[in-house]
Symmetry: C2
Subunit: 298 residues, 2 copies
């Protein structure tokens, strides 16, 4: 009874943050009527109405923990989600994953065309930095600059884009667990981790405990993604399932089997909880999100 | 005699700034040995050793006018040039211009592959914002944030990326001079203009006269580009010549003929000089650069 009340409360919180983020993104993206209209429509198609919004949820959970202003968290969460959206649009393009389905919709290059998809990704990335630069953090320009720096490092050639490059090179090869981790810490972990840090930075320096939490949840997210890719249908995922093994990509499932990957994800979930041990009740949303990331079915 | 001494002095100044920027870019880009090595090598291939470096020259000329710290101008000029380099890599890709020659070298997707070119452009863009965010402007975080904001607006969907989208849509159509200007102010003008503003911002707010100068030089640059594309060989340009008319792209040459486009460029050069009228000897480099942009042969 108590457990289900807690679950209902968490589900309601997730719903409210998702609605809030949808609204903030809709306001932050240029209107579909503004020239160049087709580009702006495609940017909105790519970023709105889709996804679990795991990164914004983490930004809000971290920000609520440190007492950040929700209006400021909107900006931080939008910036992280725009970087994520841009990466999906480019990764889906024919020259990388050549995928046709994303978030239950046709991918941008299928719905529009390749040139537009390229420009959509480019412009979504730019908008992420624009938002962080143009919305002042009153009295704390230093933390605002730190948010920009953190997001850039997470997205760049030693973060997300670099992880994607390693992934491309690794196709058809067998990687050790250490090599897999090197790749995924960059490809997925860096931005998940930045989502947590940017939430905390809205109210000051990011506590070390949150950084540890973020790194573990970031890696767990990818491990679970690999399991789901192997086990769940495309219809449930809202994206093409089973493509890792079809493309010969090394994954946690290919490295340690489904059972081993699930065990590893459980360990990381335990580690994420352990990082929050001293933070008490205030960290409840972050604990729930660690559980959500590892126990999700899609 | 005096004229040629002035010209030699300007040529020497350009050479010294170009060497300085090459060095600053080489230090700012991740080393070719750092993982992912292939991505970092391709980023260096795209950004180093090439181009006239018109934007960095403008950044330095504007910065010298207002007495900015040269070390800080290095950062601003690198950021602008990285955005420019990213845009060239993506524009050359098969889904946009499908070009094989750039700055006298094979384009990135030809020298490496398409997926790498996509990630190179993405990561060069990110690095531009990272540089501006991580190098403090001592005692002036506000101007530092304004640099980030200015560069993002110039690069984004209402600036450079938006201009490229309009260009795609316009292929095969006839545009009026007003429509051409709407496109080119975004596609080329916005970033040229940002190059000037970022130089000035290194020492404080950007003077209005410099903004006017920047807008006129930015548009002049594109008008002259259109003339050169129609008149000069690929070997001289270091990129494929004549492709605008081959691709049915509306240009200043198709709108007003070569002679009309040259006249328009001359008018803009006059306007750029007029904007600097009250600034005296200090604006000499900016005047020389306006002349260089309009009178260049490649």
């Amino acid at each position: 009874m108590l457990a289900s009340a807690t679950e209902a409360d968490f589900a309601a919180w997730m719903g409210s943050i998702r609605a809030r983020i949808e609204d903030a993104l809709a306001r932050s993206l240029p209107g579909p009527q503004h020239a160049p209209a087709r580009l702006h429509q495609a940017m909105r198609y790519a970023a709105l109405d889709g996804g679990k919004r795991v990164r914004p949820l983490l930004t809000f959970a971290a920000g609520e923990l440190v007492g950040a202003d929700p209006a400021r968290l909107d900006i931080a969460a939008c910036a992280v989600e725009l970087i994520h959206s841009y990466s999906l649009v480019h990764d889906d393009m024919p020259c990388i994953d050549n995928d046709v389905l994303r978030r239950g919709k046709r991918t941008v290059h299928v719905e529009y065309d390749e040139a537009t998809a390229l420009l959509v990704g480019d412009a979504l990335q730019t908008l992420a930095f624009q938002l962080l630069a143009e919305h002042p953090l009153p009295g704390n320009a230093g933390a605002q600059l730190e948010m920009l720096r953190t997001l850039a490092i997470a997205a760049g050639s030693r973060g997300m884009a670099g992880g994607q490059a390693i992934d491309l090179e690794a196709t058809g090869k067998t990687l050790s667990q250490t090599e897999l981790e090197f790749m995924h810490v960059r490809k997925t972990g860096a931005l998940i981790s930045a989502a947590v840090k940017l939430g905390a930075l809205c109210a000051g320096p990011c506590p070390v405990a949150l950084e540890q939490y973020a790194n573990r949840v970031g890696l767990a997210f990818q491990v679970v993604d690999d399991v789901l890719d192997a086990e769940v249908s495309s219809a449930t995922l809202g994206k093409t399932a089973g493509k890792d093994s079809k493309q010969g990509k090394p994954t946690y499932v290919s490295a340690m089997g489904v059972a081993g990957a699930r065990r590893f994800a459980e360990e990381l979930r335990g580690g994420a909880h352990a990082a929050l041990a001293t933070l008490g009740e205030r960290a409840q949303r972050l604990r729930q999100l660690a559980d959500f990331v590892v126990l999700r079915k899609f």
